[in-house]
Amino acid sequence: MRSVRRATVAAALLLAGLFGIAAAQESVPPPKQEWSFGGVFGTYDLAAAQRGFQIYSEVCSNCHSMRLMYYRDLSGIGLNEAQIKAVAASVQVPVGLNDQGEPVNGPGTPASRFKSPFPNDLAARAANNGALPPDLSLIVNAREGGADYVYGILTGYQDPPENFKLQEGMNYNEYFPGHQIAMPRPLQDGQVEFAGGAPNATADEAHDVVTFLAWTSNPELVERKQMGIRAVLFLTLMTGLTYAVKRKIWAEVH
């Protein structure tokens, strides 16, 4: 048995070493943040998510689409039916054909998808110096580092170090791979005014909008974790019971 343990320890050390080497080669990891939705008991801070939706609407949605989201989904961050209808009605979306068979636009409904800023990718590139602003529906899941990474990007704008050659129209960002990002700094101190007077420094805004984006990426998270706690508790109880029965059944043969 001792040789097994020694081999396991040796393997663990070797593997830790290997991953250490790997980590050193990659770009700057964004610092870890405290998130309301982190951990086993995490839930979304709905006030932050609602402020985040305001930031998305006022800032991000000028360039970034969110095509997997419907206005009805906003009930997930605590908006009531009237609020959702009002939000949806504030945009014009295609609502079908008129009597002459021509496509017509009308106010959105809760069943409408979030309105995209551009009709297609080509139009988006044309308006953004050739770069395509990625769809944000799943952005927190779609990036290594998740919420911390997105927060890092939003707060990581700096002056480039000396000797760093920044290409025309690009911006320096500490946490973007290669440090050259086409997106100009999106959030400034005090840029978005919140109704309740919540703090709105860049870091606060970034924190709120990332909470919102984490929710759009994983709207099932709260339900999932709460079900998970019950499932694990139940299974632990079952393990104990089953093990007790096993001991009883096996008692006579040992």
């Binding site: 048995m1 040789s3 097994v4 081999a7 040796a10 393997a11 070797l14 593997l15 290997l18 991953f19 080497i21 790997a22 086993v40 997997l68 989904d73 990625p134 529906s137 799943l138 899941n141 779609a142 990036r143 290594e144 998740g146 791979p177 990426s217 709207p219 099932e220 999932r224 974790k225 079900m227 998970g228 706690i229 499932a231 694990v232 299974l235 632990t236 079952m238 393990t239 089953t242 093990y243 029965v245 096993k246 059944i249 096996w250 043969v253 040992h254």
Partner: protein, 425 residues
Amino acid sequence: MAGLYKSDYENPVIRWIDTRLPIFSLMQKEYGTFPTPRNFNYFWNFGALALVTLVIMMATGIFLAMNYSPNTGLAFDSVQRIMRDVNYGWLLRYTHQNGASMFFMVVYIHIFRGFYYGSYKYPRELLWMIGVVILLLMMATAFMGYVLPWGQMSYWGATVITNLFSAIPVIGQTVVTWLWGGFSVDNPTLNRFFSLHYLLPFVLFGVVFLHVVALHITGSNNPLGIEVKTPQDTLPFHPYYTIKDSVGLCVFLIVFAVFVFFVPHTLGDPNNFIPANPLQTPADIVPEWYFLPFYAILRSVPNKLGGVTLMFASILVLFVLPWLDTSPVRSARFRPLYRPFIFVLVLSLFALGAVGAHKPEGLWVVLGRVCTAYYFLHFLVILPVLGVLERPLPLPESISRPVLGPPGGGGPMPAGAAAKPMEKS
């Protein structure tokens, strides 16, 4: 008279059926009274766990298929619709997605059990070979399933892996075009992968049935690796092993649940949350963790055909393992030289996994080659030679002796078996 089966059942309904179709007698014989070695440890849970996982995968998969659209324009969004709008769709999908990882984890431990206790040796060679067929079918199914969500890694993984067949001399490119159903991975590829991904698990289930039939002919191996000699060496499968498997199943389900409910993305790749884009190659194309060691073997050879050959050979060599291992002793407990080597093999497979996850540069290339070399050396050279050189420890007389006999008596006892009665007191 027309032959009715002689049934022992009293209940008239069961008896009526059982005399005509003796499934009750069969189940009683194979899963009730089936004589099973009395000394299994918890490694012997993993076959049952694998079967349960297969059933979970098929059950969740059938419901996912009801809501999935195998079309390049719809696949990604239909998976997200399952995640967001289908009732408990996220649960079905996370269970299925993480279930694939759980399946490989369980099966890899099951295979390690076979390595360590020599379960592949006479008379269980065919049982082992059927197991290797199961592994190959699992790999094909998992690969095609990974393509279905049509994310970036789905698309590029499919491109890389199907392109491996272009290494076949002369007909390679034709074969690849035939596999794709076109000139690149596209809608026909997605359609056939969906169809086959639905079909293969049923084939797999059939082969698992053969695996179990073969097992019930030879009987199970056991930690001592010696054959059952007397009825004293065995216990009926039920209730002794049904309850022991249940304990293992509960613990396994806890691990499964932790992945599904708390860290469902840990084993996946963030790139697969980006819809497939044939015009943009991701920085790294990495397979799922369970393929990483084989991916590392593939890349350890600078020649494409050589790499592909070696990768397939790394699985195919398992088919002849029963004849490569020349030692008559099964369990590593009694093989002082084989025992360290099996841990070196496991270590090299873990290292190959790490190699597969990284760009083939610098140290990783060297490590990949060393471990690949060891992998084949282990099977092709070390195992045949060990059987000749090694002096195995004396084997216990029977399974029941070291378990029932007084400590210190009844011949040499393996450390593990001797420790057990003491833990109980």
